[in-house]
């Protein structure tokens, strides 16, 4: 008996990140209290190492671990995105956790573990590895949400997140076990080959459960209740993590499953995604209109943004061209969303770190107190709203065009209407920062690391705006798409 050979280079990013996480945990144990912050540069070094391993794999097409682990452009794009998100979150957290003396070493260790889940998720092509990856993202997330031990809101948010997460995992596992029962395989490609000939009813039920499980993870309406409370209660850098990396992890899993494992039965689940997308956009935006707290505002706006990302799933059909366009649009949206949302969180944290609060009423006249911070915040919010010269506009445009191309006009209309609703609350914050009279006039000095974090987010956004082919090309050449979209669809 031989073990399947392992392509060590292909899993190098995961190995580096695992080693870094273990190292951070051990080093933290031996550091005196006042030197605990050293865990942060150590974690950053680990993430740079992971990024280097990802870069060394560029252009590679490898499959290892018995077909459950695949390295290609799609995987590498998301691995790199998780590393960049991790670096930005590290920059956001140093100040916060050092000054607050919250479990610093544990936080960095847990963050690296969660990012490891994301990096694995980008390559997972098997029900079991997808499940393990999503849990590796969620479970450290639950603990991190509770790090402010003395705060009731932190405990409440974490407990809600835990309960919803466990419930969604149970549903997802149930669906996956049914799929294994029907197809006899856990590999996405094998499932795709066998699926069309199996019992329609059972397949519908199992896909339904898997979709509900992921809908919880990406906080799609009506499974979004945990998100605003958890984001508000968690330490803000953790909220930034949950809104970006955690959600992106869920979407990557969903992309792999829907475009690669289940496209042959798309007739069954497509209408569910259309309803989910329309509901998520509309409800998220409508509730966001009433928010007074910037984190809650970003939470509901994040729910609404999930809706736009779900549109791509509702467009998959018999035409390979429209499928590939929907796939590409969704990938671009996810990448750009992750960066701009993180940027907005970074700006909110910078403001709150230096005398401000998280209440939107305190943003009055920020322009007079710190033009740079107000400008950056405005840029991130307008990008989230999809105002043309910013990267967010590209993201919305691609999804919009994809739905026109697939002739699903009603979703395009819903998106258009929602863009208008969303503009209202984003612009309300911008108006407050630029035109209202400030109550306090002292200027705000932003810490250097937070500047670096926002700078990195802006840089990545500008790069994807000036040269969008950077992202589209990677999405374009991905193996996922070419294999997933060519499959014949069963007739309804």
């Amino acid at each position: 008996m031989n073990l399947p050979p392992i392509d060590w280079h292909a899993i190098a990013p995961e190995l580096v990140l695992t080693a870094a996480a273990c190292l951070v945990l051990v080093v933290d144990l031996f550091l005196p209290d006042e030197a605990k912050w050293i865990a942060m540069p150590l974690s950053a070094a680990g993430l740079f190492g992971t990024l280097a391993a990802v870069v060394s794999l560029l252009g590679a097409e490898r499959v290892t671990l018995a077909g459950s682990f695949e390295v290609n452009d799609f995987a590498l794009l998301f691995k790199a995105l998780f590393c960049v998100i991790g670096l930005i979150i590290l920059a956001l957290s140093l100040d916060y956790f050092r000054d607050g003396r919250y479990h610093q070493g544990e936080f960095y260790f847990l963050l690296l573990c969660a990012l490891l889940g994301g990096v694995v998720m980008a390559s997972a092509r098997d029900l079991i590895s997808i499940f393990i990856a999503i849990e590796t993202i969620s479970i450290p997330g639950i603990v991190m949400a509770a790090l402010r031990k003395g705060d009731v809101r932190s405990n409440e948010g974490s407990l809600k997140f835990f309960l919803f997460s466990v419930l969604s995992s149970a549903l997802m596992l149930y669906g996956m076990s049914l799929i294994y029962g029907v197809t006899g395989s856990t590999n996405v490609d094998e499932i795709n080959q066998v699926l069309p000939q199996q019992h329609e009813g059972l397949v519908a039920v199992s896909v339904f459960f898997v979709v509900i499980g992921f809908a919880f993870k990406v906080s799609a309406v009506p499974f979004h209740f945990w998100a605003p409370d958890t984001y508000e209660g968690s330490p803000p850098p953790v909220a930034a993590f949950l809104a970006s990396a955690s959600k992106i992890g869920g979407f990557v899993g969903l992309l792999v499953l829907m475009f690669r494992a289940f496209p042959a039965v798309a007739e069954q689940w497509r209408p569910a995604f259309a309803v989910l997308a329309a509901l998520t956009m509309t409800v998220g935006n409508l509730i966001a209109l009433r928010q007074q707290h910037i984190i809650r505002l970003l939470a509901y706006s994040g729910v609404a943004q999930s809706g736009y990302m779900l549109v791509g799933f509702a467009l998959i059909g018999a035409n390979a061209d429209t499928n590939s366009q929907a796939f590409k649009a969704t990938v671009i949206y996810i990448v750009i969303y992750g960066l701009m949302d993180l940027g907005a969180f970074a700006a909110a944290i910078s403001f709150a770190r230096r005398g401000g609060t998280y209440f939107i009423s305190d943003y009055s006249g920020l322009w007079n107190r710190s033009p740079a911070l107000a400008g950056l915040m405005a840029a991130f919010l307008l990008s989230l709203a999809g105002v043309p010269p910013l990267a967010g506009a590209w993201a919305k445009l691609f999804v919009f065009l994809a739905s026109i191309e697939a002739q699903v006009y009603w979703l395009a209309v819903v998106m258009g209407v929602n863009a208008v609703i969303a503009a209202w609350y984003y612009l309300a914050v911008v108006k407050r920062m630029f035109f209202d009279v400030p109550e306090v006039s002292e200027p705000i000095e932003t810490p250097y690391l937070l500047r670096a974090a926002m700078g990195l987010a802006v840089l990545a956004l500008v790069a994807s705006f000036v040269y969008p082919r950077l992202v589209t090309d990677l999405a374009d050449r991905s193996v996922l798409e070419s294999r997933g979209a060519d499959v014949e669809l069963s007739s309804p």
Binding site: L25, V26, L29, F30, E200
Partner: protein, 122 residues
Amino acid sequence: MPEGYFGQYFTIAIFIVAGVVLVLGTFALAKLLSPFQPHTEKLTTYESGIDPIGTGWSQANVRYYIFALLFVIFDVEAIFLFPWAVVFERLGTQAFVEMVIFIGILTLALLYAIKKKVLEWL
């Protein structure tokens, strides 16, 4: 079975109804079929056959939960160790190295527990 777009969702509806009926049905059946003849011994709390002492609200020391957590870690380790041990001779060095790494990472958890002084009983 109904066909078409939404026809397939009918299956899901049947599934949900079946799930609810199954649970409620079992409870109802138990209620109907089981004999009910209470006396003192039957109504006392079952505590492994011993007469129960004190109230049902006796509190366990919160420190036990750390031990429970550590127990889970090494319990899971054992689950992976047994099948590995059975085929160990045929798997060779690679499997051995892999298991050493696996146990090594778990040992970090123990090291963490020791350094955080959770193994000391005050």
